[in-house]
């Protein structure tokens, strides 16, 4: 809303009669946001690992700056490699979750599913995984065996083989029990090209099920909050779901992303920026379990930013949206799929939300972890 005194101020600013003063400020901000990201901190903080703005800045200002090449530059979930034998998808992911074991899963199945899903989001058929372990001196072998057993089970479920690996042990206190890095290779045997920059005005945004289960489960499993709720992590492989979707509407899927760290909100922001479109979400259409909603309310965080480990966001053409939704819902893991938004041309680069209350707001990237409010 622009008050009259603001408009008076506009009149004082000669030469910008067509814009209110607030709009001029908004334009200045848009320009500032388009500047090349620069890392200002002297040291890495936890925000750099949270998946929000600080992470994006770190990736673009440090890693992309040093490694820049056409395969890395799109910053998709995995790289698409063209070989004489065919097209391959290649990806890697590290896992440092605490606690290592939580309702619905553990770091082991997370490490397998996470990489399987990154490959699936490229449209690939996941084939082979590597795993690297960093173990802390004193870590119980029984726990390691438990983790490895669930990795084996997850690999079998996803139809992939773990074909190479590495182990390092560090002194007590230099790591938190067990960290795992997995990398994966998959076969891109479909003609489709999926990309965060492929969204077009008119497209429809789908999500494959209720969001935020994993993030809230882990937060509660840490036991710091003295809240308990009947929810489990949604960790699961999504390759069958992506295959079902790409079989049903092969030409009409623009992009697929698994909504991990940073949640659905972060993906939508990446799409809006990469495709230079507006993503308009409908809050009342976003599926969230009441338990997740309740815990989020108590903590003052927004489920849109909470991590999932078995949910995908798909942007599809409007014509095929119903077929795409039906394809997702045809599998049990996608039974809760929903249409949550649309793609518009203006204002480019922004994610907008029609709130359940009936208002509008933007949904921006968070800086770091969602921090609980004071009161």
């Amino acid at each position: 809303m622009t008050a009259n005194w603001a408009e008076e101020a506009v009149r004082a600013h000669a030469g910008a009669e067509h814009l209110t003063r607030e709009e001029q400020v908004l334009e200045r901000i848009a320009k500032a946001r388009a500047r090349k990201p620069r890392i200002r901190e002297e040291r890495i903080t936890l925000s750099h690992g949270a998946g929000g703005k600080a992470t994006h800045t770190l990736i673009e200002a440090v890693f992309l700056e040093a490694f820049r090449n056409p395969l890395l530059e799109p910053l998709e979930d995995g790289a698409s490699l063209v070989t004489e034998a065919g097209r391959l998808a290649f990806t890697t992911d590290s896992f440092v979750v605490s606690p290592l074991f939580f309702p619905g899963g553990d770091i082991g199945d997370l490490a397998v599913n996470g990489t399987v899903n990154d490959l699936a989001m490229c449209g690939a058929r996941p084939l082979y995984l590597s795993c690297g372990f960093i173990l802390e001196e004193g870590f119980p072998v029984a726990s390691l065996q438990r983790i490895v057993a669930s990795m084996a089970a997850a690999a079998a479920r996803a139809g992939v083989q773990i074909v190479t690996g590495d182990t390092k042990v560090v002194e007590r206190g230099k790591a938190d029990g067990c960290y795992i890095t997995t990398a994966g290779v998959g076969l891109l045997d479909r003609a489709c090209t999926l990309s965060a920059s492929a969204a077009r005005p008119g497209d429809v945004v789908l999500v494959s099920g209720p969001i935020g289960d994993h993030g809230i489960t882990v937060m509660l499993a840490r036991g710091e909050l003295d809240i308990s709720a009947d929810i489990v992590s949604d960790t699961a492989p999504l390759h069958e779901l992506t295959a079902a979707l790409l079989d049903a509407v092969p030409e009409d899927v623009r992009l697929l992303r698994d909504a991990t760290r940073g949640g659905v909100a972060t993906i939508c922001n990446e799409v809006a920026v990469a495709s230079q479109v507006a993503v308009v979400l409908d809050e009342s259409a976003v599926p969230v379990r009441p338990e997740v909603n309740g815990a989020s309310e108590l903590l003052g965080i927004d489920p849109l930013y909470v991590a999932c480990e078995g949910r995908l966001v798909a942007v599809v053409s409007a014509e095929c949206a119903d077929d795409a939704l039906a394809a997702l819902r045809s599998l049990p893991i996608g039974s809760g799929a929903a249409r949550i938004g649309t793609v518009r041309d203006d204002p480019p680069g922004l994610v907008l939300l029609r709130t359940s209350f009936g208002g509008t707001r933007i949904v921006d990237l968070l800086v770091g972890d969602p921090l609980p409010r004071i009161c």
């Binding site: 009259n4 709009e23 703005k53 907008l352 707001r361 933007i362 800086v367 609980p372 004071i374």
Partner: protein, 375 residues
Amino acid sequence: MRFVDEFRDAGTARALATRIAALCEPGRRYKFMEVCGGHTHTIYKHGLEDYLPETVSLVHGPGCPVCVIPMGRVDDAIAIAERDDVILTTFGDMLRVPGGRGSFFDSKAAGADIRMVYSPLDALKVARKNPDKRVVFMAIGFETTAPSTAMTVLRAAAEGLDNFSIFCNHVTIIPAIKAILDSPDLRLDGFIGPGHVSTIIGCRPYEFIAREYGKPLVCAGFEPLDILQSVYQLLLQLHEGRCEIENQYARVVPWDGNLKALQVIGEVMELRPHFEWRGLGFIAQSALRVRERYASFDAERIFSVPGVRVADPKACQCGEVLKGVLRPWECKVFGTACTPETPIGTCMVSSEGACAAYYNFGRFSRERVKEATQA
């Protein structure tokens, strides 16, 4: 979600909006201040301004606990945290607040043991678990959070814990409201009263606002319909020529407050002669400190802190924003030099800060968004 959805019902909001519009006299503009940062957050998060006529504007007040902490106090807390024998605990919202030499996050990255807690009692747990360390709780907030800090000190005293103390930064709301009423730059038509603070202090302390300053105040809850109803009640008072203190949040706020909580505060804390507020300067009798009889729990007495007053950065206009004189986007550095990633002022840090709320939720042109979100 039960007991939440009822207060976010779009149908009721539309009905209320019609009645609000009917109460507005043609040609007259209305300016109401929501004192509490929690209200600011709700207003932006739910897009509440979409329901208000253009002639009704909401001005954000000083009631954001993080925003009013001056830089010198942050530096003092960090100086304590940087001692080898200290674990500093604080609320999540506080971690990104910049002091003169960086934020808690920066100090944590540089090696200080700084931990986020959800309540002061969690800090007590940290103290019990680390008997060889001195655990300090950075206490902030208005009367809302002061009782829990005071209770924690009483609990620590009862347990005979000798490694726990608080760095007390509690402030009181009435002197801040009075400072705003006495400020010559602002013309307000009424106040949306701070609901959470009022659960402790009740509505009686506001009576002077109507009696001496001739401004109505409606104490409001934190759901969007609560705030919309409060705007309606304020407009109705103006329309009927009344000027009263009303309690919209009677389901939680007793008129006389919470006597027990007030007694607990009074037992442990006393008014400081004066305290510096960020952007507002020194205000007499506006903050609390630990009483002499609990000196052994007072970090200010235990540790020598620099206690240096640090002037706000020149470009920062947090003071004007906190007083409601400037809207967030009218600040010279808003959104360009001062952003949530690189905040210059506190208002850009906390999710209750007016600048952060506007930047994260409201940073758009209403006209363009209206077009984009219309289905």
